[in-house]
Symmetry: C2
Subunit: 133 residues, 2 copies
């Protein structure tokens, strides 16, 4: 990652990055980013949002997360970390990356070289956990 220097610094690129960075742990879809950037740069198009999101991800400045839905979500934290999803309220939370050694045991025993992973945990978050469904 990081051919970043050769990119032109456009208003659109900066605003997309800013929108992702301001999103906390919401993990917004491209759609949501589009809506928010549009409030600042009303002429921006969805295509440009997608292109800039992919550029930022390729440069390692943001992360792309797949949580088993059809759409991609975007994450201000680029590094490989895990996610928790509350099945009741939809809350998504970043978790520190589980060390590969902990998980890769079976794959390594099978003779595979493991270089990365994606882990999503499902359950009930702190807030929903004590309530009755």
């Amino acid at each position: 990652m990081g051919a970043e220097a050769q990119r032109r610094r456009t208003r659109q690129l900066a605003c997309v990055l800013e929108a992702v960075r301001a999103s906390g742990n919401e993990h917004p879809s491209a759609d949501r980013i589009f809506a928010r950037v549009r409030a600042v740069v009303p002429t921006i198009s969805l295509g440009t949002v997608y292109r800039n999101l992919h550029r930022l991800a390729a440069d390692g400045r943001i992360g792309i997360v797949h949580l088993g839905e059809r759409l991609a979500r975007f994450d201000p934290t680029p590094g490989g970390h895990d996610h928790f999803v509350c099945e009741q309220c939809g809350h998504i939370e970043d978790l520190p990356a589980t060390p590969l050694d902990v998980e890769a045991g079976a794959a390594r025993q099978a003779g595979h070289e493991v270089t990365g992973h994606a882990l999503v945990l499902y359950g009930r978050c702190r807030t929903c956990g004590t309530e009755t469904p």
Copy 2:
């Protein structure tokens, strides 16, 4: 899972299940299932394949797997288990499910109740590992 008894036993449902079961560790897409079932039931439609795949999954007879691509893959093994994906040759392999306790530590420390997970490991498989890219 398991309202299965109230389903009508149609040729299409049986063939879709059979196609998934015969797929080994290929983890075929709906498309591939469609092509194969069509060789046996030439009139079947893609819509019917999708509907039956979802029924089978709802009944716990097959599994649905998301590997970070946009399409869903289908797995004859329904239980919660992990997957290894070779980034060089695309080989997909089932792995025994990692015990939740191993992974859920951080989420539990944050006060969340973890009930399930999806884990995909990426790397180079046994076959590709010894070769130079």
